[in-house]
């Protein structure tokens, strides 16, 4: 597809980038004495119009979602290509599917924790799960649901529901990235897969799971080979770090995994992984045409939501500012 296919969308996104929250806004939220004050700072920004009837500090999730929804809508409208947002919103459909399948087996109503950001209506998924008839769902959801349900009947392990659905989700994201025909979309999708795989690798080790479990949990289609993880699993962590060292994830290996070994906490590693992906997306900030600015903007918005959430949860629970700051992701602008 031509580089100039989305100039209108790029123009819009460029104008919208000016409204992304800057570091200083987040710093002001952090320094606010109470959660209420932090929310007030947020209200003065572009998020103000998403406040609606939100009053309490606990409504911040609603505000984030309403703003994200707007972002997805703008991108959809201006690109006339649903693939871009679909790559991001599919995860909400999969989340709803997870909730509803687990809820079905628990025999209780869990609609309260579904997310209204996906493309498929929650009622539709709920009906399909209840009737065990998934033919009305989009094909990726259908395949995923069928596999997860069959597996659960055999294994009775709820963790496997999540793992199977996650695998289907990222396979679908990879396929969509291929379908857009843009190398950048593919790079972002594959980077995300790699980062999640690294995360799976270190967390499986901490949980003391065996290599067979790792093999089932790892996502497909990453740039890093699955065999790299599997072969390093029973070696010391430093062997794995060395293997990553020369590649594109060298920085993460050097600092992130090192900090995991030093502090036995994944905090720094996870922050670095999110920042890594954001940095890759930042290409969109400098590109003036093509899909980079569009994908970059979506990632920037999602990242912004994460930062707001971290600050607000921290503020509500009176976590010291330094401890919140340690977990804050980088910003796009």
């Amino acid at each position: 597809m031509s580089k100039n296919a989305y100039l209108y969308a790029v123009g819009r996104v460029k104008a919208l980038e000016t409204k992304l929250l800057s570091k200083s806004t987040f710093e002001r939220m952090l320094e606010a004495p109470t959660a209420q004050d932090a929310l007030k700072v947020l209200g003065e920004t572009d998020y103000g119009i998403s406040f609606g009837d939100a009053e309490s500090v606990y409504d911040f999730e609603k505000i984030i979602y309403s703003n994200l929804k707007k972002t997805y809508k703008v991108v959809d409208e201006s690109t006339k290509n649903p693939l871009f947002t679909r790559m991001s919103t599919l995860k909400y459909d999969f989340h709803n599917l997870k909730v509803l399948i687990k809820g079905e087996y628990l025999g209780d109503d869990y609609q309260g924790i579904t997310m209204d950001l996906g493309n498929v209506s929650i009622e539709k998924i709920a009906r399909a799960v209840r009737d065990m008839d998934y033919k009305d769902l989009p094909v990726v959801l259908k395949q995923a649901a069928e596999e997860a349900v069959v597996d659960f009947e055999l294994q009775k392990d709820p963790q496997r529901i999540d793992i199977i659905l996650d695998k289907h989700l990222f396979k679908a994201i990879y396929q969509m990235a291929l379908e857009t025909g843009h190398a950048f979309a593919l790079e972002i999708a594959q980077t995300e897969i790699d980062l999640i795989n690294i995360n799976i690798f270190v967390r499986c080790r901490r949980m003391g799971r065996d290599v067979r479990f790792l093999e089932t949990a790892l996502l497909d289609n990453g740039i890093l080979e699955k065999s790299l993880f599997i072969e390093s699993y029973n070696e010391p962590l430093s062997a794995f770090t060395e293997k990553l060292f020369m590649g594109r994830y060298g920085e993460i290996a050097a600092e992130g995994i090192q900090s995991l070994e030093d502090t036995n906490s994944t905090t720094i590693l996870e922050r670095m992984m999110d920042d890594f992906l954001l940095n890759k997306s930042k290409k969109g900030k400098y590109a003036t045409s093509g899909v980079e600015p569009i994908i970059g903007y979506i990632k920037a918005k999602e990242n912004e939501g994460k930062i707001i959430r971290t600050i607000m949860v921290g503020k509500i629970n009176n976590v010291p500012a330094d401890k919140i700051r340690e977990r804050l992701r980088d910003v796009y602008v």
């Binding site: 123009g11 996104v13 460029k14 104008a15 980038e17």
Partner: protein
């Protein structure tokens, strides 16, 4: 009236001198325009600034038209009295039209992209409009040089 091959080439030259930069400018202005509408959708106050940038790739079309006119005037097409032109003279005029035709086409598209990028600058920093224009105007240089070459050649040809 008998029409010679020379006359045909001369008119063909005038035609591509107008045609190709015209197409280029249309594409260029279109690209910049798309980008500009994107910005204006979010921020209608930027209409004036983005319009300025959008107009820049339009100049190649004007240069092409100018070259076309000069050729037409030289061969007497405008006066209504088509001069006698030999095949070689016709081919010479045709060749003279080539620089502006090709440079006009490609530079207009390139300028359109630069202008679209410049609109990106305006979207974020309206005060830096001049820089955006400068970047786009740099592309203009080569269209001007091609125009100059074409015009000089056309006037240099003995008819």
């Amino acid at each position: 009236m008998e029409i010679s091959l020379g006359q045909f080439f001369a008119v063909f030259g005038a035609a591509i001198a107008v045609l190709m930069p015209g197409i280029g400018s249309a594409i260029g202005v279109g690209l910049a325009g798309e980008s500009a509408s994107g910005v204006v959708t979010e921020d209608p106050n930027k209409f004036g600034q983005t319009l300025l940038l959008q107009a820049l790739p339009g100049t190649q079309g004007i240069y092409g038209l100018l070259t076309g006119f000069v050729i037409m005037q030289r061969i007497g097409l405008i006066g209504g009295q088509l001069l006698e032109i030999s095949t070689y003279q016709g081919l010479l005029l045709f060749s003279a039209a080539l620089p502006i035709a090709f440079v006009g086409l490609l530079s207009a598209i390139a300028q359109g992209k630069t202008a679209a990028a410049g609109i990106g600058i305006v979207a974020k920093r309206p005060e830096e409009l001049a820089k955006g224009i400068t970047f786009a105007a740099m592309v203009e240089t080569y269209a001007v040089l091609a125009l100059l070459a074409s015009i000089l050649m056309i006037f240099g040809i003995q008819i």
